[in-house]
């Protein structure tokens, strides 16, 4: 531990942040850079397995997640941004803790040790440890006047199998209100976004998304802030309400407050243009 700097973290981006949600990845990197957190991308990471591997074959699901654990250097926590990736990585670790035989077989297969006490945490946990006061001291842009719904979706707050792990109910509010924004909690913050049904059965998902967005509009929020890249995408693409309301990745709002200036590059990738909300914010400032 001693020769590892405390602000070094292994970082698992996952498929969404590497592609469709590249703007979340980019803004996260900016925020981390400003805070002096060194997120080191896990070398040659693979997909966590996601719901599809979990559905079709337990061994495959375990193997996909475990390979990532085998790539993580010991001594520094593994950080994920996507709640589902976090969930599958943690589940695999629990599985391997209980099943040393499988663990040994995988270690032999890959010729790498798999640490079962590797710390696997969400980026939100990194911020909690960093401390709200230090975070505030780094703020460069006030979020005053931004009314946001903290949208957690389902995974960051639930899976009972991992009930002993920390979940981050309330954490987005703590952080963003400390940076000046105003939380609007009376909306559907934990209602599931529809997950992969958005791809297979949009007619099931569209009314759900409309309900979520409708609740945010009724609560007079300017935007929703999501903890999950898939939620962000589903809320954008399946909203057929006339009222369009921008959906931000949590990392975008965080990086914005910390003074990152390449936000135009993130925002042009949104399907609902968030720039009017941001302009309103800068005018108020």
């Amino acid at each position: 531990m001693s020769d590892v700097k405390p602000q070094d973290f292994s970082y698992f981006p996952g498929c969404s942040l590497a592609t469709t949600a590249a703007e979340s990845n980019r803004s996260l990197m900016q925020a981390a850079r400003i805070l002096g957190l060194n997120l080191i991308e896990l070398e040659d990471w693979n997909c966590c397995g996601s719901s599809s591997a979990q559905t079709m074959c337990r061994n495959l699901s375990l193997g996909m997640a475990a390979r990532n654990l085998s790539l993580a250097p010991a001594g520094r926590p593994l950080v994920a941004m996507c709640p589902r990736c976090l969930h599958y990585l943690r589940s695999a670790q629990q599985c391997l803790q209980a099943d040393p035989k499988t663990r040994a077989a995988l270690e032999e297969k890959w010729g790498r040790p798999i640490s079962t006490d590797l710390e696997i945490i969400h980026f939100m946990e990194v911020l909690v440890r960093y401390g709200l006061d230090r975070l505030k001291a780094n703020a460069r842009r006030s979020l005053k006047g931004l009314r946001f719904v903290p949208y957690y979706g389902c995974t960051l707050a639930r899976p009972p199998r991992l009930a002993k792990e920390t979940y981050f109910q309330g954490e987005m509010e703590h952080i963003l209100t400390a940076l000046g924004a105003e939380a609007v909690p009376d909306a559907l913050m934990y209602r599931c976004c529809g997950s992969f049904l958005s791809a297979t059965d949009p007619e099931i998902v569209t009314p759900l998304v409309q309900e979520i967005i409708g609740s945010a509009v009724a609560a007079k929020a300017d935007c929703l802030v999501t903890a999950c890249a898939m939620c962000q995408l589903n809320l954008e693409i399946r909203n057929t309400n006339r009222a369009k309301i921008p959906i931000f990745h949590f990392s975008e709002i965080l990086a914005l407050a910390l003074g990152a200036d390449d936000y135009e590059e993130w925002f042009v990738r949104h399907l609902v243009d968030p720039r009017p909300v941001i302009q309103k914010l800068s005018k108020a400032a």
Partner: protein
């Protein structure tokens, strides 16, 4: 004169009665594999009332539990509900008896795949297979490839075409997949499960 057959044949009485079906009950099997005690369910329907997807299901989650308890294997493994469930855990967190219904759904899906029964929502398993094809090839999910493959399977090319084009225009769908360096070696090796033979 032929010998008269005895009216009553000698009956062999076994010293122990063997049960007809020594197989584990469905409820015990699901409880064991899912790690959740589903016999605690008293049909309060909290799960069904909270589920965001219940309208697209043929049985509510509590009804699925009932089917399992009644041992109605065929009905439960071929139902739509287990495939519509995305595992958001709303039901699990609302259940007053602490039953992890999402884990039950997880287990039933796996059992349906293993048993090779007719799948209640075939388009959803098509999608999962398409995702796995992508993972096998690249080690990561290539969304454009997955959606094209899924469309090829379902034949619904026009559905969401406008959305796909908008996402392409926003460069949200990468043409070239992001991939693991030695996907052929370490990743493809993991794809040795039964679903491959059946697919």
């Amino acid at each position: 004169m032929s010998q008269v057959q005895p009216l009553v044949q000698e009956i062999v009485i076994p010293d122990r009665v063997k049960a007809d079906n020594p197989r584990q009950s469905l409820a015990a099997e699901v409880a064991e594999r899912s790690g959740t005690e589903l016999n605690r369910c008293y049909q309060c329907r909290s799960c069904g009332n909270g589920c965001p997807f219940v309208q697209a299901m043929d049985y509510t989650p509590n009804q699925v539990i009932r089917l399992v308890q009644f041992g109605l294997r065929q009905e439960v493994l071929t139902c739509k509900t287990i495939w519509v469930c995305v595992g958001c855990h709303t039901c699990s967190s609302q259940c007053p008896m602490g039953i992890d219904l999402a884990a039950v759904m997880d287990t039933l899906r796996l059992m349906a795949v293993e048993a090779g029964v007719v799948i209640g929502k075939p388009n959803i398993i098509d999608f999962h297979e398409e995702v796995l094809r992508s993972l096998e090839k690249y080690g990561r999910a290539h969304k454009l490839g997955i959606m094209l493959g899924y469309k090829r399977q379902t034949g619904r090319w026009l559905k969401d075409l406008d959305l796909g084009l908008r996402m392409l225009a926003k460069r949200k769908l990468d043409l070239i997949p992001s991939r693991v360096r030695d996907a052929n070696k370490e990743i493809a090796d993991l794809f040795t499960c039964y679903w491959r033979e059946s697919a």
